[in-house]
């Protein structure tokens, strides 16, 4: 059947487990991705509809959405890209360099946040122009 003609090179031993089960796994992953996306959308719309003034609650909702997105990324990489079926060596050589991204996210978000606080403190015009509350009056009309 499928085994004989997939002989690529003597240096590689291809897995021989692709059967009907794998198709089932693909569709199962599809439903998982779809359901997670729908939940994400629900939370995103909730975030929009509630327009929470409370920063902590808003960040909590956003945090849940981010974790759900990471779960989606895991399923796409692991099942669709078959990385979960590869050998340990390959998984590590791909995943470990990506850890740098975590450092980049943390440090650059902190940097952006610190820039905001410094501008709000030293540039009152910036604060006035961009604070969350709508302005009560505009410049006097001529």
């Amino acid at each position: 059947m499928s085994a004989a003609h997939q002989n690529v090179s003597s240096e590689i031993s291809l897995p021989q487990k692709h059967s009907g089960d794998f198709v089932k796994r693909i569709w199962k992953t599809f439903w998982i991705l779809l359901i997670i996306t729908i939940i994400e959308l629900g939370l995103g719309l909730l975030l929009h509809a509630l327009d929470l003034p409370d920063n902590t609650k808003r960040l909590l909702l956003k945090g849940i959405i981010i974790i759900l997105s990471l779960a989606k990324a895991y399923f796409i990489v692991s099942v669709f890209m078959h990385l979960g079926d590869e050998i340990h060596n390959l998984i590590l050589t791909i995943v470990i360099p990506l850890m740098l991204i975590i450092w980049a996210i943390v440090s650059f978000m902190i940097d952006g946040d610190s820039y905001k606080h410094m501008r709000n403190k030293y540039d009152k015009h910036f604060l006035e122009r961009t604070m969350e509350v709508p302005p009560k009056t505009t410049k006097p009309a001529q």
């Binding site: 690529v8 796409i76 669709f80 978000m109 410049k139």
Partner: protein, 290 residues
Amino acid sequence: MATTATVHQTKWWSGGKSPFNVEYGKLMMWYFLISDTFTFGAFLISYGAIRFSQNFWPNPGDIFNTFPFTGEANLPLAFVSLMTFILIMSSVTMVLAVHEGHNGNKKGVAKWLTWTILGGLAFLSCQAWEWTHLLTGEHATLVNGQIEMWSQTVTHSPWGRPVESSAVAAALQNTSPEVLAKLVHEHNHTMSLSQLAALPHDQLAGMIKVSEMHVREAGPVAFGGFFFGITGFHGFHVFSGVVINIIILAMVNNGVFERRGHYLMIEKAGLYWHFVDLVWVFVFLCFYLI
């Protein structure tokens, strides 16, 4: 027993075997995808850093609330949900094509690859509509004490803070007749735009119901650059993925892989295509959801 275990542990590195148990091309595709991850990562992280440095950032539900053929209906995130669904679906058809390739089924590969190409083209069409809508849709924006009609471009954003009615009424006095005519025309179609523009300023201003108007200040300048830059770069990836898939489909139909004895090239194209879907997960997250 101990010796067998050691042999098993080190056999990947003792020669005669690919240490990663994949062919050269697939390994290189993975390394390319890592570098591409850093490119997209850098874009999205710089967007995040700028967003963190702002006191105000527009709510995505206000910006992305339109759907083709529904006119002015307020449907937040509906269209982008459709785009996301299309891309997930095309990822599924791609992985099915890869699976048929493992089984050496030429017809199956061609069928699923065709669906993947159609999905990619559908996604690109949706993005073209969304971009056109953002670039051409005009919104009343309070700029320097008067109202101007702004669309979302790389340099201008009409999605700032909402303006109160009293401020709108004052701004209308300074607004040019062309803009006033456009504002009246949005709700009142009894006269043409040119007829309206001929009316005196005061009469036009009187025809506008200030309480019904949604006027905003100018939004963050960076929004357009990041949005069009990042979704554009992603769209370029989708486009190149479609081109690659079309080439592979032609090769499948010409029996190139049948003669070669394996369909591993589909796997490499598949990796690229899934990566495009993977990036969309994060573009969707950063621009539309949070």
